[in-house]
């Protein structure tokens, strides 16, 4: 590398440590950490002897790093789209602070590292699930579905839904009905969550040529889809309450949150674009924010059931 290239780097901004951390999408990682930790602790509550706290911490760390690695691979591949979209144009690659090759190298290295370390610390079922999650997000979603079909986030949502299943497998070495339903909860929650975002971020996706449902089928259809998804989601969320991870606290929370979620989707369905534009998508934005609370409360309730179990109170 010549001095001239150093000068170019300075002009575009030298990458700081925080830029490399930003490649790992820390905000997405926080959701991954939370749901994976809940899956792991819920499993530990059902297993005699539980799990060593250090192993639990290490497993969640590996899952978080694996999730971050897939985020880096996503940023490497999607740099062209990110450059066009206002929401993502400040990311490390489009802003020129990090080179695409660096992101690719970090993504691949951390992927291998997280999978192997999780396998060594816990078991290879959990490691295989983590490897599949990274592959699913980086290849199936990012490279294939995202630019090809308006169902991109429906199928791609699976990548974000795996962490509680991996956390569960890290303790039990197994895939069970409870862990599949925890996966299903995030999987079915993702479409209404992202479509609500797309309703008020539409122009960004349109500009980048990403075939979001709002772009390909219009906002009316998107509103109908959001409403339709809340019913299977509610059935699954309430059904989860009758498995080994459920209990009265979870079931009460699930019933209340799902009633509110269906009501919010109904409010979105009834609105037309003129009304939405007039109040700057107030209802859609509120629904998007509520969807975050929805997921947090469900997994929080599972955690509460697991935490109360040693005192004979959690679960059925």
């Amino acid at each position: 590398m010549t001095d001239a290239s150093f000068e170019t780097q300075t002009e575009t901004g030298e990458a700081q440590f925080g830029d490399y951390v930003a490649l790992l999408k820390p905000r997405v990682m926080s959701l991954v950490v939370f749901t994976a930790a809940v899956g792991l602790l819920a499993a530990a509550a059902t297993v005699p002897g539980g799990v060593h706290p250090f192993i639990a911490f290490f497993a969640v760390l590996c899952i978080a790093i694996g999730g971050g690695a897939s985020g880096a691979l996503n940023m490497w591949y999607d740099a062209d789209i990110d450059r066009v979209m206002k929401r993502t144009s400040g990311r490390p690659i489009p802003s020129g602070r990090v080179q695409p090759e660096e992101a690719l190298a970090i993504g691949l290295t951390l992927s291998g590292f997280s999978v192997v370390m999780l396998g060594l610390a816990t078991n290879w079922v959990a490691a295989a699930l983590l490897a599949f999650t990274i592959f699913f997000y980086a290849v199936i979603y990012t490279m294939w579905l995202k630019r090809w079909t308006p169902q991109n986030i429906v199928i791609g949502g699976a990548a974000g839904a795996f962490p509680p299943m991996i956390g569960w497998a890290a303790v039990t070495g197994d895939i069970t009905l409870a862990s599949v339903l925890m996966f299903g909860l995030t999987f079915l929650w993702t479409p209404p969550h992202f479509w609500a975002l797309a309703l008020f971020m539409n122009s960004d996706y349109e500009k980048a040529g990403v075939p979001m449902l709002t772009v390909t089928h219009g906002r009316r259809t998107t509103r109908r889809h959001i409403f339709a998804y809340t019913f299977p989601l509610a059935a699954l969320a309430i059904g989860l309450g009758f498995t080994t991870v459920g209990g009265p606290i979870y079931l009460t929370a699930a019933v209340v949150m799902n009633l509110l979620f269906v009501k919010g989707a109904w409010d979105i369905l009834r609105r037309d674009e003129a009304t939405a534009e007039a109040d700057k998508y107030k209802v859609e934005k509120r629904y998007f924010a509520f969807s975050l609370l929805y997921l947090f409360v469900h997994f929080g309730a599972i955690l509460a059931e697991a935490a109360l179990r040693p005192w004979g109170m959690g679960g059925w």
Partner: protein, 62 residues
């Protein structure tokens, strides 16, 4: 012994070099901690250090 003024490049990259150093130190600490936990929680051994009989071995991950 004379110390040279740090090159501008080193000043600019201080944050990432420091960050990487901390990450590597944490990694070493984590692997050390994992080793200690694995060694002291060997599922193949009883509390007195004797190997467990095959019939008493648990199935599964940890």
């Amino acid at each position: 012994m004379a110390f040279r003024e740090p090159h501008d490049l080193h000043k600019r990259r201080w944050s990432r070099n420091l960050g990487l150093g901390i990450v590597l130190a944490v990694f070493v600490a984590l692997v050390f901690g994992l080793t200690i936990v694995k060694v002291t929680n060997d599922p193949l051994r009883l509390d007195n250090g004797q190997l467990k009989p095959a019939s008493a071995l648990d199935q599964g991950g940890n």
